[in-house]
Symmetry: C2
Amino acid sequence: MVRSSSGNARFDVVGIGNAIVDVLARTEDAALEDLGLAKGSMTLIEASAAEALYRHMGPGIECSGGSAANTIAGLASLGGKAAFIGKVKSDQLGRVFRHDIVSLGVHFTTPPAASGPSTARCLVFVTPDAQRTLQTYLGASVALGPEDIDEAVVAAAQVTYLEGYLYDPPRAKEAFRKACDIAHRRGRKVALSLSDPFCVTRHRSAFRELVAGEIDILFANEHEITALYESADFDAALQAVRGQCEIACLTRSDKGSVIVAGDEVHVIDPAPVAQVVDTTGAGDLYAAGFLYGRTHGHGLAASGRLASLCAAEVIGHLGARPETPLAALARAAGLA
Amino acid sequence: MVRSSSGNARFDVVGIGNAIVDVLARTEDAALEDLGLAKGSMTLIEASAAEALYRHMGPGIECSGGSAANTIAGLASLGGKAAFIGKVKSDQLGRVFRHDIVSLGVHFTTPPAASGPSTARCLVFVTPDAQRTLQTYLGASVALGPEDIDEAVVAAAQVTYLEGYLYDPPRAKEAFRKACDIAHRRGRKVALSLSDPFCVTRHRSAFRELVAGEIDILFANEHEITALYESADFDAALQAVRGQCEIACLTRSDKGSVIVAGDEVHVIDPAPVAQVVDTTGAGDLYAAGFLYGRTHGHGLAASGRLASLCAAEVIGHLGARPETPLAALARAAGLA
């Protein structure tokens, strides 16, 4: 439990990440191939490429997204006390992003950019197998810098949760480092999501150092953790990460997850889902459930089961934010 | 069949309506009461009220909407040739609206407003019983005027489909009248959706005259048709509308629909739905299926069954536009 760091904590978790509005559309596999997109990946694209791709995309729905922001929305939906730091522009989609997270009771005061690129958008192509392929235009979110890291907020959170994607824009990386430093100075925990295997490849050595030296709780899926340690298989990666950080949560899609904490290892089954519609946000919501559990006195296994429950909710519909209040689901499952 | 009017038709249907982006959020009944909203209704609100209400709304998803626009999207999703006339602003949500309809292959060339109010938004509160309560800020859509009615497009469509909501903004009503005149002059059919019982009450005598004098195909739900004729019950309303126009399609939610055409009466069962999530767009998609059927040589009953199938798809998820290509569903059901 994150007991050691819970003194005087106004927030359970502060999330720091790219503030993105998702545009989701169902797509056939053939169309994905025609567009030359690598299924299952996240690719960063420029404004002009985003415009061109959007023209070739089918009708969509818009839904607030962003990896860490999804986690924070999930945590708030569970009833947790949460804050978010990330950059939108003062445009319509920026106001949508702000509304969606603030209406959950999340503390979000990062000033929007008044000029420059528009609010970040992620084009999400959802194939019939419920896989998602992400094309991200970072827009205003690259304007996030160390000046946006509110020391008082980070100091007041039991856990500072960072997404690996922050290592892509240079000033966001500085913001990441600053938040890390503040959290540790105040005796708080730092959690990291590895975000994406390609993101891991882009920043492998930096991420390895981070995990070994500064991260208390790591979230990674099978592809990310094997990419991080260039492991032959999942088990080899599991052995590689063991002991590198206090807790590693390794997710494996429909095989559930494995939680490693020193000598403790817990194998967590996935929660049942009537129909998997869209896997966007599965990892983000897993992290929400786990962090809620850990900041509310639950053990590793119970936190893992809550994590699976939250992931199951979000893959049952289009979009990476919960549609059903997670607190009610958790109560119904006896996991609150 | 609409055979008499199908000569040289470039379009099956042109829809004319308010161009709206929906903001959908799940809401408890108690919250609806706290906000003083009348469940199941559509209310027009000003910009300031929309802002205030949005602040009290939970996190949402954005999805292109607008009654006639939803019908046109459904028709295109069935593989029909469709056009739309409606007004957005040249802002982010306006571009979302345009993208969503154009990406379906719909002809949509109404110039966006360069200044003035922003693109129209409809706040949709979806309660656990799948009912929806609509609060509409008409924004840029009130700028639609007769100058936006492209005579060539209306002349080239077998059916001109109009939403009753157009009678609310004065210049949109002029646009409605102009389109009606063009269609009749060119020997085309005119269809009308009564939109909403309150809309009917606002314009009762005008709508009665329209139905008796100018409308070939009428779409109305039980509440709208009883409001139109101030009837005591559904059967009385059915007798009142019989003979007023060529075809009247009267929808009754989970009781299915009744199609009246002179001496012919067809009672159509609803199509099965695994779970009713959100009834937004049910009537709009019913109209899409029926009009596709009628413009593709189907009889009244077969068109009604296709209408029910389309309505069933859209109430199975959040949002008023189909998520699954309707042409595939129609083929699978033997109704293409």
